[in-house]
Amino acid sequence: MIHDILSENVRKEIDSIRSKFPHDKNKSSIIESLLIIQHENRGYLNEELIGALAEYLNVQKIDVYEVATFYSMFNLKPVGKNTISVCTNVSCMLRNSDQIVEYIEKKLKIKIGQSTKDNKFYLKDEMECLAACNGAPMMQVNHVNYENLTFEKIDKILDGIKDD
């Protein structure tokens, strides 16, 4: 049952998302709802959740699935709890973001695109520019910006993230 899959809390949030759009435009709520659901589900989506949202919004499952596979912030496989995205686009690349990635790869003993064994970190292969070009090199950890990175700064940031 859909009520077992989507918690009351999530359903409430979805309802408030729905109120942003004209009443017959249920599809509009898909993207934000998926973000909420993914957040509640430790960072990733699955078939059941997608199906449940489709049912809740009264849209076709394939509509939700199309969206879930299009936007890069949705994960359809389990990932580490904390997402690290290092911007490697031109402005950051000119400021040595490649070395930043390399450093994090070594530090966490993973390759870009992977999650750590303990599932604490996920190093996303970020294609986009994260719009902090004047603070290059930069990264986002759980969507919080850290700019003008140095190796020491990275150590401090990542080591400061507690297990919960």
Binding site: K20, P22, K25, N26, K27, S28, S29, I30, I31, E32, L34, L35, V59, D63, E66, V67, F70, Y71, S72, M73, F74, S85, T88, N89, V90, S91, M93, L94, R95, M127, E128, C129, L130, A131, A132, C133, N134, G135, A136, Q140, N142, H143, V144, N145
Partner: protein, 421 residues
């Protein structure tokens, strides 16, 4: 230095409604409501101020507003806060330091075009900071009844609603954004019909960039001439330039349009480690690259940049010094457009990958001379043949990098390594 969209930036608590109103914020909106200013007059002011879209295309904002189809009762405004053109980081500053200017700008725009709802669409990656600030600012503005029903007793009702995306560069393209708001994949629509005739949910819609919108209240408050005269030389108005790359002090500068590039460079304390300037991409990674010496004295404005073969674009100024390997920069740029192509139209879906894979091959030392011709050919096959401008955005860098730095590419395919060591 002149301040328009950045007015609140240096103040304490810049995003709060108190700071904004203290600096005269919402007075333009109040005035319009008090006077019941005719819509056409508001549009006229924006038109005459020569405000041009800051999202990339530089289209006259007032003119765009005047295209709104009068036939439908339901209309929409969309503020494009998707900011994702590589090298661009200005909207994010406006959103976090001056969010009320965006709200007031949206309200005025809604009023002028007759929309009762304005959506502000933020890119997904802004969910950590800008999203919270935006939501909070909108809440404040509702509390002060600048937004909502019967605003300040004027009988005008407008809702401003924040939306968030989930990671897709292409959603910055205006019609892809509409698709995204409709809850679909961000795939651009064919034009015509233009959004001003058939936009969100099929209703007339105006889409403007955040910086464009944020400029609106200041223009209404200070007048046409004030804004026009802010520009230097023949230019009108101001623009936020995102100075990034090999600079001693990268930063976002709001400067008069027409300011020479050299002056902006000085503002950033020159090239990093006093190296020599090699190349500049002046408007985000989609616009053609130019050699440093060519741009040095060029006024940063639409026309002069066109004359030197590039564009002002979004104002993302990427500065590269003599140590930059142009082949690897182009490879990274191509990778981006390859990854961000929505995949609907053939030349872009297939061509961007071809460009990128060819560049990877060259970088791996497996390219040859004919691959350079191939790059040019494929870029030409993409350019002008796609539904939206992403195809062009992928093609223009390739063509301009090859034209301007042919030697360097030739060196690479011959020697199987970079000219830069």
């Amino acid at each position: 230095m002149i301040k328009v969209c950045t007015q609140t930036f240096d103040h304490k608590d810049p995003s709060s409604i108190q700071t904004y109103t203290k600096l005269g914020g919402y007075s333009a909106w109040r005035e319009i409501l008090n006077q019941q200013t005719p819509k056409s007059q508001v549009i006229g002011v924006i038109k005459d101020s020569q405000l041009k879209g800051k999202g990339g295309a530089g289209f006259l904002t007032g003119l765009k507003w005047s295209f709104i189809s009068p036939n439908e009762s339901q209309k929409y405004l969309v503020c494009n806060s998707d900011e994702s053109e590589p090298g661009t980081c200005k909207d994010r500053d406006i959103l976090r330091y001056n969010p009320h200017s965006v709200i007031e700008g949206m309200l005025i725009a809604c009023y002028a075009i007759g929309a009762s709802v304005g959506y502000n669409y933020l890119r997904g990656e802004f969910i950590g900071d800008q999203w919270k600030v935006t939501n909070n600012a909108i809440k404040e503005a509702y509390e002060h009844n600048f937004i909502g029903d019967n605003i300040l007793g004027s009988n005008v009702s407008i809702d401003i609603i924040p939306l968030i995306g989930a990671g897709a560069y292409i959603v910055g393209e205006e019609t892809a954004m509409l698709e995204s708001i409709e809850g679909k994949r961000g795939m651009p629509r064919i034009k015509p019909p233009f959004p001003a005739v058939q936009g969100l949910y099929g209703k007339p819609t105006i889409i403007n960039n955040t910086e464009t919108i944020a400029s609106v209240p200041y223009i209404i408050k200070n007048g046409i001439d004030w804004y026009k005269n802010l520009g230097e030389g023949d230019a009108h108005g101001v623009k936020m330039f995102c100075m990034s790359g090999h600079l001693n002090k990268p930063k976002v500068i709001e400067a008069p349009l027409g300011t020479p590039f050299s002056k902006l460079l000085d503002e950033c304390n020159g090239i990093l480690n006093n190296k020599k300037l090699k190349a500049v991409i002046p408007g985000g990674s989609s616009v053609p690259v130019v050699k440093g010496e060519v741009i040095m004295d060029t006024p940063m404005d639409y026309e002069p940049l066109m004359k030197i073969g590039t564009m002002l674009g979004s104002g993302g100024v990427i500065v590269m010094d003599e140590t930059t390997c142009m082949v690897s920069v182009l490879e990274r740029i191509s990778r981006f457009y390859y990854a961000e192509s929505c995949g609907q139209c053939t030349p872009c879906r297939e061509g961007t990958g071809w460009l990128y894979k060819t560049l990877v091959k060259i970088r791996a030392g497996q390219g040859n001379q004919s691959d350079l011709d191939l790059l040019n050919r494929v870029a030409n096959q993409i350019e002008g043949h796609c539904i939206c401008a992403l195809g062009d955005a992928a093609a223009m860098p390739v063509k301009s990098f090859l034209t301007n730095f042919w030697d360097e590419f030739e060196y690479y395919v011959e020697k199987k390594q970079s000219m830069i060591i």
